[in-house]
């Protein structure tokens, strides 16, 4: 009688148990890593989502000709106009200290905002006007409900007096939350309520542009030469080993190299995307070379042989037949390298891209900062409201990373030739 079941012996029960154990261990590992990912994203999104909304306070300002000369708008003192408007709204506030608190409800940027609104729309002039201005970071915390009023006053960022004033504004409809356009259109600022991400985003974009323009052609050229032309001898072995080692060098070392060579020796302007891009290009070069060589190696040699047998020169054979097939793999490698560069902070600190940049850079020769450096700066800032900005900046950075990887996948799909 033949037995084909587990009872047939051969140590089957024990072998099956080992099988199941391993599979469950694998599922457990995936579950744990997924849980960490979920926790990370939940915490970042939970912290950063508030950035979408921004609090505004309505101030009624006197824009009559006595206060503002219509011919000469810039000469007016908008700061005192805003303060006067606030005093008029709260006539009961008299003490100097309380007045200071009252003025602190709106951002220090409020006066400029009023001026900008008038410049954009001069018809506002000639009478009392109610204008919306940005609330201060602490007022914003209260309006968006992030202040725990159960805590004793000394442990709160917002005092009882301020809460009373804000409650009154909210009741009268003079405080509201709107979409925070400023976060995406402003540069950095000392004031969290008007600090935006555009300057660092542009800085990152320019830096990556320089990085890509340098490392992609160089990396692909080096890979083609090493893979297809270089004689296989001790020298090329040495180069190969060193490229692999370079890929593992800590990025801060490349930063120091950039500091001493690009800034110190070559005298290029510090803090600029040009130098940042050059340093990051050094860092991504090995990644691109390694990925490109792997892509070249995966092309069936028969294409090259066929072209050579037809009388193509080696360069023609490679550029006409090997490169098009290897291109998707090369591009993927390049984009992975770029994604790495986008998230890199340490080398940028070394070459001075850690500066406080308010203006949005428009060329690679202007001082700039990059997204991860901006995150570092905001995380380091003392104001409570910057935690929200930090998380939001991380979301922006992650979004761009995901987008880049998505582009890599789509490019791969589109360009891949079947053979």
């Amino acid at each position: 009688m033949i037995n084909f079941t587990q009872e047939a012996g051969f140590g089957l029960r024990r072998r099956k148990r080992a099988e199941a154990r391993f599979q469950w261990a694998g599922r457990g590992a995936i579950l744990i890593s997924l849980a960490f990912l979920v926790i990370m994203f939940a915490s970042i999104i939970g912290n950063g989502a508030g950035v979408i909304w921004q609090s505004q306070i309505a101030v009624t300002v006197d824009l009559s000709a006595e206060e503002i000369d219509p011919e000469n708008i810039g000469d007016a003192s908008f700061n005192s106009l805003v303060k006067k408007g606030l005093r008029d709204a709260f006539p009961e506030v008299e003490k100097r200290k309380e007045k200071k608190r009252l003025y602190g409800l709106v951002s220090t940027e409020a006066a400029f905002e009023v001026e900008r609104q008038i410049q954009a729309n001069p018809e506002l002039l000639g009478g009392m006007q109610t204008l919306w201005v940005t609330a201060s970071d602490d007022a914003d915390l209260y309006i968006s409900g992030q202040v725990d009023t159960d805590l004793p006053e000394v442990k709160r960022r917002v005092s009882d007096a301020e809460i009373a004033m804000l409650d009154k504004l909210l009741e009268e409809g003079l405080a509201r939350e709107t979409f925070n356009r400023g976060f995406f259109t402003n540069g950095d600022s000392r004031e969290p309520e008007i600090a935006g991400i555009l300057s660092s985003l542009m800085g990152s974009a320019l830096t990556l542009l320089v990085c890509f323009a340098l490392s992609f052609p160089l990396g692909i050229g080096a890979a083609i030469y090493l893979e297809e032309f270089a004689p296989k001898n001790r020298m090329s072995d040495l180069i190969e080993v060193n490229i692999n080692n370079l890929a593992a060098v800590p990025s801060i070392v490349f930063g120091l190299l950039g500091l001493s060579i690009f800034l110190g020796y070559m005298g290029l302007p510090r803090s600029t995307p040009l130098v940042g891009g050059m340093v990051l290009a050094l860092m991504t070069l090995p990644t691109i070379i390694i990925a490109s060589r792997a892509a070249l190696r995966s092309v069936p040699p028969s294409f090259k042989e066929a072209a050579l047998a037809l009388g193509a020169t080696p360069v023609q054979a490679i550029f006409h037949h090997v490169l098009p097939v290897a291109m998707p793999g090369m591009l993927t490698g390049a984009i992975v390298g770029m994604a790495q560069a986008l998230g890199e902070t340490a080398p940028l600190l070394m070459i001075g891209m850690v500066a406080f940049i308010v203006d949005v850079p428009t060329s690679v020769l202007e001082p700039a900062t990059a997204l991860p450096v901006q995150i570092f700066l905001w995380a380091d800032a003392p104001e409570r409201a910057f935690t929200e900005k930090t998380a939001a900046a991380i979301i922006v950075l992650l979004t761009f990373l995901i987008l880049m990887n998505l582009i890599a996948i789509l490019l791969r799909r589109k360009l891949e030739t079947r053979f």
Binding site: P231, S302, E305, A306, L310
Partner: protein, 283 residues
């Protein structure tokens, strides 16, 4: 001047510099002189010697089959004729190999010019991952052989007709070459080779990846190409060698054992080793 009309084959094939202009080869009477001549040809892979003192004459406009068991050096010899062995860094050639009287291992010989005139068809069909038209036009393009689009189209059509593929693909020239069947792909590769008007076509087991029907078509094609080209074919199938070749060379362990008219080699071999191989006792 068409090289095939010259009586003395000295220095007529122009391997140095530009390839000859593409004129469809004309019919001429067969010549007695051997077109490809190997004298004391030795090939080494590093320390290992793969071919030993090969003396072989290959006649013009004939099909010469190289047969022998695996590893006997027949493919190595084939690839020595268009210097594809140069691609292997450790491979070294020693001796003389002339085509139409010209030493092809001469330093003055440009390997690109040589390969433009000594075409090759590989074991596995390897069309480029491009359209059928592009596959055939590629050689014409890189050699600048046609001056206008219509001329190129004509030449592509002529090549596909020569390869017996035109009727099957004329309405889908823009489709990828690898959308064809295996046999069609191999004929496309032959069309690609024929397009640049080579003097010699080398074939490295061209039918080993094909089914019997596709094989028959390729064999018919080889037979029809014989009148215009000198063909050297490596094959594992002795029936194929007997069917399509006029001359057969038998290799064994890197040595040329016997060469002669195919009929004689298969029916009345001079050497015992040949006898053993064709009757299936070795190999």
């Amino acid at each position: 001047m068409d090289q095939t009309l010259i009586q003395t084959p000295v220095a007529d094939a122009n391997f140095v510099g530009q390839p000859a202009t593409p004129t469809p080869p004309e019919k001429v009477s067969e010549m007695e002189q051997s077109f490809i001549q190997a004298r004391k040809a030795n090939v080494f892979y590093g320390e290992k010697q793969a071919l030993f003192d090969i003396n072989l004459d290959i006649e013009e406009k004939r099909v010469t089959a190289l047969i022998g068991p695996s590893g006997c050096g027949k493919s190595t010899f084939l690839r020595a004729i268009n210097r594809m062995n140069d691609l292997i860094p450790i491979c070294r050639f020693d001796g003389n190999l002339t085509i139409a009287g010209q030493e092809i291992y001469d330093p003055a010989v440009d390997v690109v010019a040589l390969r433009a005139q000594v075409g090759m068809v590989f074991q596995k069909p390897n069309p480029f991952p491009k359209s059928i038209f592009e596959n055939v036009a590629y050689g014409l393009k890189i050699h600048g052989m046609t001056s206008s689009k219509t001329e190129m189209a004509d030449r592509v059509e002529w090549s596909l007709k020569s390869a017996g593929l035109w009727d099957e693909v004329h309405d889908r020239l823009d489709q990828p070459g690898n959308s064809l069947s295996g046999g069609q792909q191999q004929r496309l590769c032959i069309a690609r080779t024929v397009a640049v008007a080579p003097k010699v076509i080398l074939m490295d087991e061209p039918c080993s990846a094909l089914d019997p029907i596709a094989t028959a078509k390729v064999e018919d094609l080889i037979d029809s190409l014989r009148k215009d080209y000198t063909i050297v074919i490596v094959t594992h199938s002795m029936q194929q060698a007997a069917r399509i070749s006029q001359r057969t060379a038998f290799f064994h362990l890197g040595k040329l054992i016997e060469v002669g008219a195919t009929k004689d080699v298969f029916t009345n071999p001079r050497e015992e080793q040949t006898q053993n191989y064709i009757t299936g006792r070795i190999g």
